[in-house]
C-alpha cells in the first residue's frame, strides 16, 4: 500500500538572480515499511526532496507545482499548525547527519525526548515519557540511565543512537534519515545502520535514506532513486540500480565506490562540478560532465522513460546502456571529460 506519493513536484528557492530549481519534476512513490535510498552529490536536491515531505525548508522555498500525498494527506496544502501537530515527528521523524549538534546543548537528552512525546501525545506524564525513552535507550544498546546526560557527554556514535531513540519515540510511519552515518567512524557506521533498519522493521515504518554513498543504500534499501541537478535521473529497485543501471551518472557514482560491481576496477570519480540550478535552460543537466553526451543531450531535456517494471531513466541514450556500462568502467572514459573544453556556465556563485 502506498504511503507517500510525490507527483510532479517543483520546489524552487527564490533568490536575487531568480529561482533556484532545487527540486524539479519529482515523481516518487514509497510503500509502507519500505526503504527508499535517495542518492546524489551534495547540491543534487536530495535533501530538498526529502524535507519537502515535512516542509522543513528555508523561508524562500516555494512549491511551484505538483503534490505530495502522505497517507492520504496533501502536504503542500496543510496548515502550519496541522503540519506541526499531525505530521512532524508524529508521522514523519528525522535522523540528522550530526546528532551531536542536533540536540539542544542546554537540555538533557531525556528532557528533549520527554518534551517531544508530551507535546504530541496528550495525557502522557513526564515519568511515562521518560520511561519510554529509557526503554528505547535499552533497546538501542545505551545504558538507560544516560537519558539524564547532556548531549556533550555522549560520544559521536552514542549521540547518534540517542538521536535514533528520539526519532522512534513516537513510532512514526516514515523516517527521514539524512546521511545518518556520514559523520561517524567507518567501524561504527555499519552498526548504526543495522540498528536503524532493525528498529525500523520492528515498528514497521518506512524510511527515506539520504546519502551520497551508493554503497550504503545498496544494502539497506528496497528502492533507489538517483538525484542529479534537482532531478531524479534514474530510479528502480535496489537490485536493478546496482546491477543494471542505465544513466551515465549512476554509472559514474557506482565507480566512485569500491564495493559495488567489479572489485578489481580502479576508483574513478566523476570530473566536474554540479550544475548551476538558476535558470538551467534546455538540455540534459549532466551533459557537461557526461562522457557520452551527444548533440541532442546539449539541446533537449530528456524525459523520463520506463524500462523494466518501475525502472525509470531520464537519458537520451538509456537504451544503449549495455555498451555505455562497459565504457564507463574504463578510467580513460572519464578522463576525457576533464580535458574537454568546458561549456560556458552561468555567472555568479552557487546557492
Amino acid at each position: 500500500m502506498t504511503l507517500l506519493t510525490i507527483d510532479g513536484l517543483k520546489m524552487y528557492y527564490r533568490s536575487d538572480d531568480g529561482y533556484v530549481r532545487a527540486a524539479d519534476d519529482i515523481n516518487l512513490e514509497l510503500e509502507r515499511g519500505q526503504t527508499l535510498g535517495l542518492v546524489g552529490e551534495s547540491g543534487s536536491g536530495k535533501t530538498t526532496i526529502a524535507r519537502s515531505v515535512i516542509r522543513l525548508l528555508p523561508d524562500n522555498a516555494e512549491v511551484i507545482d505538483g503534490s505530495i500525498d502522505f497517507d492520504g494527506t496533501e502536504i503542500t496544502e496543510l496548515s502550519e499548525r496541522a503540519l506541526r501537530k499531525q505530521i512532524r515527528w508524529q508521522e514523519v521523524s528525522m535522523i540528522p547527519q550530526n546528532a551531536m549538534n542536533s540536540f539542544d546543548p542546554v537540555y538533557t537528552v531525556g528532557q528533549q525526548i520527554v518534551q517531544v512525546i508530551r507535546y504530541h501525545e496528550d495525557g502522557v506524564s513526564k515519568k511515562e515519557a521518560k520511561d519510554r525513552g529509557r526503554r528505547l535507550f535499552g533497546e538501542l544498546g545505551i545504558d538507560p540511565d544516560r537519558v539524564d546526560d547532556y548531549p556533550h557527554q555522549f560520544s559521536g556514535g552514542m549521540a547518534q543512537r540517542a538521536m535514533i531513540a528520539l526519532a522512534l519515540c513516537l513510532e512514526p510511519k516514515l523516517i527521514l534519515a539524512d546521511e545518518p552515518t556520514t559523520a561517524l567512524d567507518v567501524v561504527i557506521q555499519d552498526r548504526i545502520l543495522e540498528t536503524i533498519t532493525g528498529m525500523q522493521e520492528e515498528i514497521n515504518s518506512a524510511m527515506i535514506l539520504i546519502t551520497h554513498d551508493i554503497s550504503v543504500v545498496s544494502e539497506t534499501s528496497d528502492r533507489i532513486a538517483v538525484c542529479y541537478g534537482g532531478r531524479i535521473v534514474e530510479q528502480a529497485d535496489a537490485e536493478t540500480i546496482i546491477t543494471n543501471p542505465r544513466h551515465p551518472y549512476t554509472l559514474g557514482l557506482r565507480n566512485a565506490f569500491p564495493d559495488i560491481g567489479d572489485t578489481d576496477t580502479d576508483l574513478v570519480s566523476i570530473p566536474g562540478t554540479p550544475p548551476e540550478l538558476v535558470d538551467p535552460g534546455e538540455g540534459c543537466r549532466f551533459a557537461p560532465r557526461c562522457p557520452f553526451a551527444v548533440d541532442e543531450c546539449w539541446d533537449v531535456t530528456p524525459q523520463p522513460e520506463e524500462f523494466d517494471d518501475g525502472h525509470i531513466v531520464e537519458c537520451h541514450r538509456a537504451d544503449e546502456a549495455d555498451e555505455l556500462r562497459e565504457r564507463a568502467e574504463q578510467k580513460e572514459t572519464w578522463e576525457e571529460v576533464r580535458e574537454r573544453p568546458s561549456q560556458p556556465q552561468g555567472a555568479g556563485g552557487r546557492r
Partner: protein, 329 residues
Amino acid sequence: MSLDTPSESTAAQAEGGTESIDRRKLRWRRRLNALRSWGSLLKEDRLGQIGLAILAFFILVGIFARPITVEIGPVWSQVQPFSLAPHGYTDRVATEGLHGPTWAHPFGTTDLGRDVLSQVIIGTRATLIVGTIAAFMAVFIGANVGIVSAYYGGWVDDVLMRITDIVYGVPFLPFAIALVFILGATLVNVIVAIVLILWRGTARVVRSQVLSHKQRPYVESARAIGASDFRIMYVQIMPNVLPLISLYAAFAVAWAVIAEASLSFLGLGPQGMISWGEIIYDVRSAGALREAWWWVFPPGIAIMLFVMSVFFIGRSLEKVVNPDLRHGK
C-alpha cells in the same frame, strides 16, 4: 570583503624600494577597499543612508549657524558670512518671555524672551565640536595604545593593558562630573574629561585585532625585509584595522555627545557656548518643563537624532567589520 590582501602586499614588499609607486598604489587600494566596501554596502543599507543624511544636515546647520569670523591681531576676516540662526542665542527677541511657537519664532521663546530655534541651531555647534574632537582624540589615543601594546607585547603590553583595565574601573559620568567640576566647566575640560575615559574601548579591540594581524605572513615578510617597527605598525597593520577604528570612532562620537549633553544637563557644560543639553538645563532651572514643551522637545529630539544618525552609520560600518551581520542568503 577583502580587507587584508597578504599576497599583494607581500609581493610588493618583496620587490623592494624600486617599485615604490606600485607599492603605494597597492597600499592605497587596500585602504580604499574598506571604504569602498562600505560604500557599496551603504547602497543597500537604508539606515546607513538615513544616518548619513541626518549627520550631513547637522553638519551644515552647524557650519552655517552663525557667521564665522577669524581674527588675527587687528585683522579680521569673515570666512563664513551666512547666518542660519535668525538671532543670537542670548538676544532677547520678545518682551514677555515664555511663549509658544509663532510664525516669527517657530520653536517659541524662553522665559527670558530668547528665540529657541536660534538656540537649537547654534547649539548644534557645541555638539559637533565636542563630538568630533573628543571622539577623534579618544580614538587616536585608543588606537595607538592598542597597536603599540599588541605589536610590542611583553612589558609594554602589560603596562598599557593594566592602565586600560584601570580606566575600565572608572565610572564614566561620575569621573567626568568630578573632573569638570574641579577644573572648571570649559570646553577643553569637558573634552578632556570625555577623552580620558573614552579611549579605553578602542584600545582593547584594536589590540586584539592587531594581535591577530601580527601573526599574518605579510607582517612577517615585511619584518624580514627590514621594515621599521613604525612602518609595520602604521603602514602595514594600521590600514587593516582602520574599518574597526572608524566603527569605534562612530560610537565614540555618540558617547561623547551623550556625555556632553549629560554634563550640560547638570549645569557643567562648556561655558561661553550654548549646547542642546544646556538648553534643557535652562528649561529645568526656569521651572518650565511642565508647560514649555516647545522649549524642551526640540533640543531633546536634536540630541536623539544626532546620536541616532551616528549609531546608524556605526551599524553599517559594523557590517564591514563583521560580515556575518550582513543579511543575505
